[in-house]
């Protein structure tokens, strides 16, 4: 039932309305709406009961193992939420002067400094509000850099074919053409192809490392040099930063820009689709172009730098400077982890991924890159199973739901057929991983003995298999 179906004309959650005032008789009638907007008319209990029930229909980190590859679905410490929601933090107006927010701004400055340290970059701006937003900032800075030098012939961004879709989409939004390069058999960027691709048109390269294939680019330094020698800049997609936190730093690899996904590596909540936060770190030459605002400290006083401080900036990313509440959560997390804790993130993310890969291999699954170390995630391909039983990666994923596990990422990266991209994260225990392996093995056995049962999955969830095609064909995007 939809909340609208609980609606009854005249019902209301009366405690929520302010004291009634007369109609706005001073406003011109032609500017007023004639009818009330068709929001639901329900009681407070209706709302609480309806949305509590809805919430229970979700899989979430708090209820299930959620090994969704490339999303880093790790435990979100509860303190991050309660501290970011302290009343004073919530109440502060974004345009209130800096002297009303020294407490808040000092935490922001502290986080900014920590992000600088873990990435090894010269400076950080936390203005971008999601990973893709960070990518936009990064590529816009690359463009601003070339433009400032009058180097306007550079019209291409090079992107490996394994990249997240946001990379080419971002390049387009920044007015660049996208040049794809292939991946070699081992999952590395094909260096020859890269060499062939770079040239006077090269504005830059966008690279995810560890790659979306779940492996570390061994030739990362060469890659960077090839691009730089061609006059391009290098963009480090930090989506997989969780894999290398404290182990290796993009700045040390010679990259010019990196974005971080705080909702991944710094464990801020995923919230059913955001909000995230996508701070960007840059090398010295890009510092002038950083998006505003960022936090500056002068003799113990903290404030947000604006247009006057940063005349060459690519500009503002949002009206008010970023997803501050998300940043506060990341700050709490970072302070609890500290320097040793951050390094442990990568250590145990790698341990869990490599263990899970090893166990799945023993259980008869095919790894896409069996010769490689897994980073924090790895790929299983179900191509052989599909060929022999007709059970697809999608079917397999749906059946895992019945066993109480969120499915891994399916059909990404696009290069590997019938793939599952599996990211356990460091916060899951061996017992959970073992239970997941057992479920994977069970589904495989089911696929072999009774493929139709698996193709019909899920069988135990609030909805059975949903018809995507109908949804796209007979659009029903709002209730009537």
């Amino acid at each position: 039932m939809l909340i609208f179906e609980h609606s009854r004309a005249g019902r209301r959650a009366a405690a929520q309305a302010p004291r009634a005032v007369a109609a706005a008789d001073d406003l011109p009638a032609e500017l007023l709406r004639a009818d009330a907007p068709g929001l639901p008319e329900v009681s407070e209990l209706d709302v609480v009961r309806h949305y509590t029930a809805l919430s229970q229909k979700n899989f979430a980190i708090d209820t299930q193992f959620y090994p969704l590859g490339s999303c880093t679905m790790k435990y979100n410490p509860r303190a991050c939420n309660s501290l970011a929601m302290l009343p004073q933090f919530l109440a502060r107006h974004p345009l209130a002067d800096a002297d009303t927010g020294q407490g808040f701004l000092s935490a922001m400055h502290d986080l900014q400094a920590m992000l600088k340290e873990v990435t090894g970059m010269a400076a950080v701006s936390m203005a971008p509000m999601a990973g893709a937003h960070g990518e936009f900032a990064g590529v816009a800075m690359i463009r601003a850099y070339h433009d400032a030098r009058g180097d306007t012939a550079r019209t291409e961004i090079i992107v490996p074919d394994a990249a997240h879709g946001t990379n080419p989409a971002t390049a387009t939004m920044c007015g660049y053409a996208v040049r794809e390069i292939p991946t070699d058999r081992d999952g590395n960027v094909d260096l020859d192809a890269l060499r062939a691709a770079v040239g006077p048109k090269t504005a830059g390269l966008m690279l995810t490392n560890p790659s979306t294939l779940g492996v570390f680019e061994k030739t990362i330094v060469e890659i960077q040099k090839i691009v730089h020698q061609a006059g391009g800049l290098t963009y480090y997609d930090g989506a997989n930063l969780n894999a290398i936190l404290g182990r290796v730093r993009p700045g040390d690899m010679g990259f010019d820009v990196i974005h971080m996904n705080l909702h991944k590596t710094f464990s801020t909540p995923h919230g059913g689709g955001g909000p995230g936060a996508g701070p960007v770190g840059v090398s010295e030459r890009l510092v002038p172009y950083l998006p505003i605002p960022y936090v500056v400290e002068e003799r113990g006083f903290y404030r947000l730098a604006g247009e006057a401080d940063c005349p060459a900036s690519i500009g503002r990313m949002s009206a008010f400077g970023g997803n501050m509440g998300v940043l506060l959560r990341a700050w709490v997390y970072a302070r609890m982890l500290g320097r040793e804790g951050m390094r442990r993130v990568a250590d145990y993310a790698a341990l869990n991924a490599n263990y899970l890969a090893a166990e799945l291999r023993k259980a008869g699954f095919d790894l896409a890159f069996p010769a490689r170390r897994a980073s924090h995630e790895f790929i299983v391909t179900l191509k052989p199973l599909k060929d022999s039983t007709g059970v697809s990666a999608m079917d397999f994923a749906k059946r895992l739901l019945d066993y109480g596990f969120h499915a891994p990422t399916t059909y990404f990266p696009l290069l590997v057929p019938e793939c599952l991209l599996i990211e356990p994260t460091e916060t899951e225990s061996k017992a959970t991983l073992d239970a997941f392996v057992a479920a994977m093995a069970k589904v495989k056995a089911e696929a072999e003995s009774d493929p139709e049962w698996v193709k019909g999955a899920p069988h135990t969830l609030p909805a059975k298999r949903l018809d995507d095609v109908k949804a796209a064909r007979e659009l029903d995007l709002a209730w009537k």
């Binding site: 309305a17 109609a23 949305y51 708090d62 939004m173 996904n261 916060t427 995007l477």
Partner: protein, 460 residues
């Protein structure tokens, strides 16, 4: 080890399974020269207790103020139920509902949200959110350019649109060679005159309602003009105002084509600027040009109603370089809060909020303009924000108010040099009569340069 469940025995067993001597070995594919020795610049980890105390101290340092700042972010009462429900683990720690069958909670909620937005805006379809109002405007400009049959890369934007929104949209669209032409405002009314709209073709006209000055634009005339000139009309609206003001879908004959805005007033805390969220609605015909996630209703194998992400072919993970936008994660949790807020307020409650905010701002404008030398900056109707000219140094006056625990508003001179002595203020439903009087009293005192002994302590 905070947040890591491994025991020594677990680690030993796992390494044995992997066939690695130690954890170090798992990083052996990383070139040795790159490996980082440690993060000396980061402090040692602290317990939750220690960080909790630190956070409380920082919060106490910032305190509370009696705030009359609006300028794009509005203080409203947020029902307690909103965040108690939105932070339930099942909403808070789920992700984008890629596995629809395991995400019906989030998916149905977004579908309900989309419905609510269409009903507020009077348009056909809505997406599942954008980052904020400013980026939503940028996306709307890009969308209008894509959708325009003219192929024109020129969009008209009144100077009465929030200056920050214009800056953000500008930064978003300039690399695609799109020109945003600023339309000047009428200095008497602070609104956009049809007569001032520039000649020459364009893809779209942006129509803010209320505008940045809180003033109400002649939306019907502006929309009609845009349509007459073959342009799309992009409405930029405050969602609270939509409970009271004519829905963009009903502007002029055909209605605005796209409506965007910032959803923060719908149950989202100010929080120094974010996370807020941007909403976007449009006519059905434009849906395939819309950026961002969209949820659609469908049926499951048994024919029962259910919800899925749909029209994914527009999006970056499918369409890649040809996607409508690069947006991926949006502001899902804020949408959850907004949905709860709209359900709790309902049509009458939201209208009461709009009416009370309007009435308070009107009462405050009246109280302030009896102070000598203080006058309204603009004639004409406003929603819940208005500007006064004080004939003095605004920054100094605001500082003096701040010393009394009052944030008096936004100094318009920061963006509009010709409004150097103007303050933009807002009094939502959260303000009592005593609050309004306190502001008026203090402003009067400051402008008349009378001293007041101990600073008042609303800030604590």
């Amino acid at each position: 080890m905070p947040f890591i469940p491994h025991t020594e025995q677990d680690v030993a067993e796992m390494l044995a399974s992997i066939g690695a001597p130690d954890i170090e070995a798992l990083f052996d594919e990383i070139p040795a020269g790159l490996r980082c020795a440690g993060l000396a610049g980061i402090p040692a980890g602290e317990s939750e207790m220690a960080v909790t105390r630190r956070a409380h101290e920082l919060a106490a340092q910032d305190g509370f103020y009696l705030s009359f700042i609006g300028a794009g972010a509005y203080e409203h009462h947020i029902p307690a139920a909103v965040w108690q429900l939105a932070t339930r683990g099942e909403f808070y720690t789920a992700y984008t509902p890629y596995q629809a069958e395991a995400s019906q909670g989030t998916l149905q909620l977004i579908y309900e949200y989309q419905t609510m937005i269409t009903r507020l805006t009077g348009l056909d379809v809505a997406n599942a959110s954008l980052y904020d109002g400013a980026t939503a405007l940028g996306e709307a400009v890009l969308m209008a350019v894509r959708a325009s049959r003219t192929g024109l890369r020129r969009v008209l934007v009144p100077a009465t649109v929030h200056p920050r929104y214009r800056a953000v949209a500008q930064a978003m669209v300039k690399n695609q060679g799109i020109e945003m032409v600023t339309v000047p405002y009428d200095p008497d009314t602070g609104t956009t005159r049809v007569a001032d709209l520039p000649d020459g073709p364009a893809a779209a006209l942006v129509v803010p309602q209320p505008n940045f000055f809180g003033a109400l634009e002649a939306v019907d005339a502006l929309t009609a003009w845009a349509h007459e000139h073959g342009m799309l009309a992009i409405a930029l609206a405050n969602p609270t105002s939509l409970a009271l003001l004519k829905a963009p879908g009903s502007w002029a004959e055909k209605g605005a084509d796209i409506c965007v805005g910032d959803g923060q007033p719908l149950g989202v805390p100010l929080a120094s600027g974010g996370p807020h969220f941007g909403f976007m609605a449009c006519r059905q015909a434009l849906v395939r040009q819309m950026p961002g996630r969209i949820v659609g209703a469908t049926v499951d194998k048994d024919g029962r109603r259910g919800y899925v992400l749909t029209l994914q072919a527009r999006e970056q993970h499918i369409r890649r370089a040809k996607a409508t936008s690069n947006i991926c994660s949006n502001q899902g949790l804020m949408v959850t809060a907004a949905t709860l807020y709209m359900a709790l307020l309902g049509p009458r409650g939201l209208r009461d909020v709009a009416l009370a905010s309007h009435a308070n701002t009107r009462a405050l404008a009246d109280a302030l303009t009896v102070i000598p030398n203080v006058r309204r900056a603009f004639a004409g109707p406003f929603f819940h924000e208005a500007a006064i000219r004080i004939g003095g140094n605004v920054e100094e006056v605001l500082r003096a108010l701040r010393a009394q625990g009052i944030l008096g508003g936004y100094a318009l001179g920061r963006d509009y040099p010709d409004l150097a002595d103007a303050i933009l203020f807002c009094a939502t439903e959260t303000k009592t009569e005593a609050d309004l009087q306190r502001y008026a009293h203090q402003l009067e005192r400051i402008l008349s340069k009378r001293r007041e002994a101990p600073p008042c302590a609303y800030k604590s």
